[in-house]
């Protein structure tokens, strides 16, 4: 009895964490399971029977396809622009000393600390006053705007742990600044940039609140869901969401794998400053290297 009690006490936090993890996964499981449901009414609320109809017919709603296409185009374009602009800001912030750093930092942090509804409302206010027609362009402006800050944060964290001696080596070997950037800095920065781009893409494709204010007649995937859910909830929404989930998980696993590979390659590079034993410890003991 007391052993069981002490086991329980020792593992209480793990059990609690397990329950929390289950809580986080339940809605995702519900989405996946109910995409196979054959609901009787308009709302996918209770389990009625198994069917593959909404998977084979996942792309049978033309409006849903158009919305998905809009979302993908919007996310691709805004990711491209936001990643480029954000990466440049991150490089300036980490690599250069300049006057006005504090306001620049402030300008980057404050959009992330503002409720989305305020950002959306403010942009709409400006567009209204200038009579700007709402549509794909205003959506693109908004999506780039809210993505930039996140790109800066991700790329900056990668830049801070950056080995500058590699760039100095490139310069010493006669590369000009542009070549150094293209051949050394950018490849080493790439995992951070890809991570930032994935985040920007995910933010854009998922955004509803800011989009609903600035979309006009353009319908994106979340806006379609919102519109459709007022009348009924088509099962296809769950099938498409499951597909989207699988794609994102695959992309995540791929980047983690890539990052691991980059880290392994970095481990072969000469030792980091401040911790001369880090690399030798990471490498397998090579025969004959013991004397070094």
């Amino acid at each position: 009895m007391s052993r069981a009690w002490s086991w329980l006490r020792h593992h209480a936090i793990v059990i609690y964490a397990g329950l929390a993890v289950a809580y986080m996964l339940i809605p995702i499981a519900v989405i996946a399971v109910f995409s196979f449901n054959d609901p009787a009414g308009k709302f996918n609320y209770s389990w009625e029977g198994f069917t593959l109809d909404y998977w084979t017919g996942a792309f049978d709603i033309p409006e849903l396809n158009d919305a998905m296409l809009n979302s993908l185009q919007l996310a691709a374009l805004s990711t491209l622009i936001a990643t480029a602009l954000g990466t440049l800001i991150a490089i300036a912030l980490v690599r250069h000393e300049f006057f006005g750093r504090t306001p620049a930092n402030f300008l980057i942090v404050i959009p992330m600390a503002t409720p989305e509804v305020v950002i959306g409302a403010a942009l709409l206010s400006m567009f209204l006053i200038y009579g700007v027609p709402l549509g794909f362009t205003t959506l693109l402006i908004a999506h780039v705007m809210f993505s930039i800050s996140f790109v800066v944060v991700v790329v900056r964290s990668r830049l801070i742990g950056f080995d500058r001696s590699l760039e100095e080596a490139a310069r010493d070997l006669g590369a000009n600044p542009f070549q150094t950037f293209r051949l050394v800095t950018l490849p080493l920065l790439m995992p951070g940039v890809i991570g930032a781009a994935l985040l920007a893409f995910a933010l854009s494709i998922d955004d509803f609140v800011i989009s609903v204010f600035n979309s006009g007649d353009t319908v994106t995937f979340p806006l379609f869901i919102f519109g459709a859910s007022q009348r009924a909830i088509p099962v296809q929404i769950y099938s498409v969401a499951t597909i989207l989930f699988a794609v994102v998980v695959a992309a995540m696993v791929f980047t983690i794998w890539q990052q691991r590979r980059a880290e392994r390659m970095a481990a072969i590079a000469p030792e980091r400053e401040g911790d001369p034993y880090a690399t030798t410890a990471a490498m397998p003991p090579a025969p004959g290297a013991a004397g070094g």
Binding site: I13, V14, Y16, A17, A20, V21, M24, P27, I28, V30, I31, F34, Y45, S46, L85, L88, I89, I91, A92, L93, R95, F98, A104, L107, I108, P111, A113, P115, E116, V117, V118, I119, A121, A122, S125, M126, L128, I129, V144, M145, I148, S149, A202, D206, F208, V209, V212, F221, P222, I225, F226, S229, I237, A241, L244, F245, V248, V249, M252, I256
Partner: protein, 290 residues
């Protein structure tokens, strides 16, 4: 132009395009929203700028319920999220072992489905004919015709769920950074597990708690999706009113005034909170540096 001057201008060229984008489409719009909030008129007659400060007092009076609910729901959801997230982050950081990365991936997994869809999934889970409600009715925790949808419980549960990762990640980051030798040292010096936790681990993770609560509370106070899907008219939050006033009723001055009041209120709460809790968190940092 000399090279030194050119070198000094480089950061401005690098940051220029991005910061101009943020200025034009974040800062400038705030100015226009401020202007709109002081206009008067109707959609038919057109709006004119008249320093109409009564927009603020009137809207606050009209929608004080929604304001109260926004901050109440967001506050309660933040506390529940903290209660769920801290043990979870602690377990991942100190007991995760080789499963750490996989567990972190699960924590952010909700973000891989669309926000609206995971909220709609909660309507499936909590629906009147669903498993949860039926079980609660059987064990008499709910009345025969009691329901979960369209109650504050459902809205708060939805908010908690949707912003939970924002709470877990910063707390995990601050726990992960703790040098475990400090905890061992505390135990060597005859502290109990509880004392080691309250005197060492908890203060050192305070920055993560402050960051997590802010990252949860701010979006939660402005949220209207959860109230829209999981609540009824009686659970409407201020975000619902802002959205509807802008897009349906098209009463722009009132909507702009509400948005501004919301932002000011959030900034005020955040400022007080940081003065209150932040100093302690910062002191934890200083002690670490010493």
């Amino acid at each position: 132009m000399s090279t030194t001057v050119r070198r000094r201008l480089v950061p401005y060229f690098l940051m220029g395009p991005g910061l101009i984008w943020l200025l034009l489409f974040f800062v400038v719009p705030m100015y226009f929203m401020g202007r709109l909030s002081l206009e008067s008129g109707t959609l038919e007659t057109g709006f004119r700028f008249t320093w109409e400060f009564s927009n603020f007092t009137d809207s606050l009076e009209r929608f004080d319920n929604q304001f109260g609910r926004s901050f109440l729901y967001a506050g309660v959801a933040t506390l529940i999220a903290l209660a769920i997230a801290y043990p979870l982050a602690y377990a991942i950081a100190f007991r995760g072992g080789r499963w750490k990365n996989a567990l972190l991936l699960i924590v952010v997994a909700p973000f891989f489905t669309t926000y609206l869809i995971r909220t709609i999934a909660w309507t499936t889970i909590l629906s009147d004919s669903g498993f949860v409600v039926e079980t609660l009715r059987t064990v008499a925790l709910l009345d025969e015709d009691g329901r979960l949808l369209a109650t504050p419980t459902a809205v708060i549960a939805g908010i908690t769920y949707n912003f939970l990762p924002f709470m877990v990640l910063p707390i995990y980051a601050s726990l992960e950074r703790i040098d475990e030798r400090l905890i061992e040292a505390a135990k060597d010096l005859y502290s109990s597990s509880r004392q080691a936790f309250t005197r060492v681990t908890l203060p050192l993770s305070a920055p993560g708690i402050v960051a997590g609560t802010l990252l949860t509370f701010i979006p939660a106070a402005g949220d209207f999706i959860n109230a829209f899907y999981l609540g009824s008219i009686n659970q409407q939050m201020i975000g619902n009113r802002i959205q509807s006033l802008y897009l349906n009723e098209r009463d722009f001055p009132t909507a702009a005034a509400l948005s501004f009041t919301l932002m000011a209120a959030i900034l005020l709460i955040v400022f007080i909170y940081i003065r209150f809790a932040g100093s302690e968190a910062l002191m934890g940092d200083e002690e670490e540096a010493k």
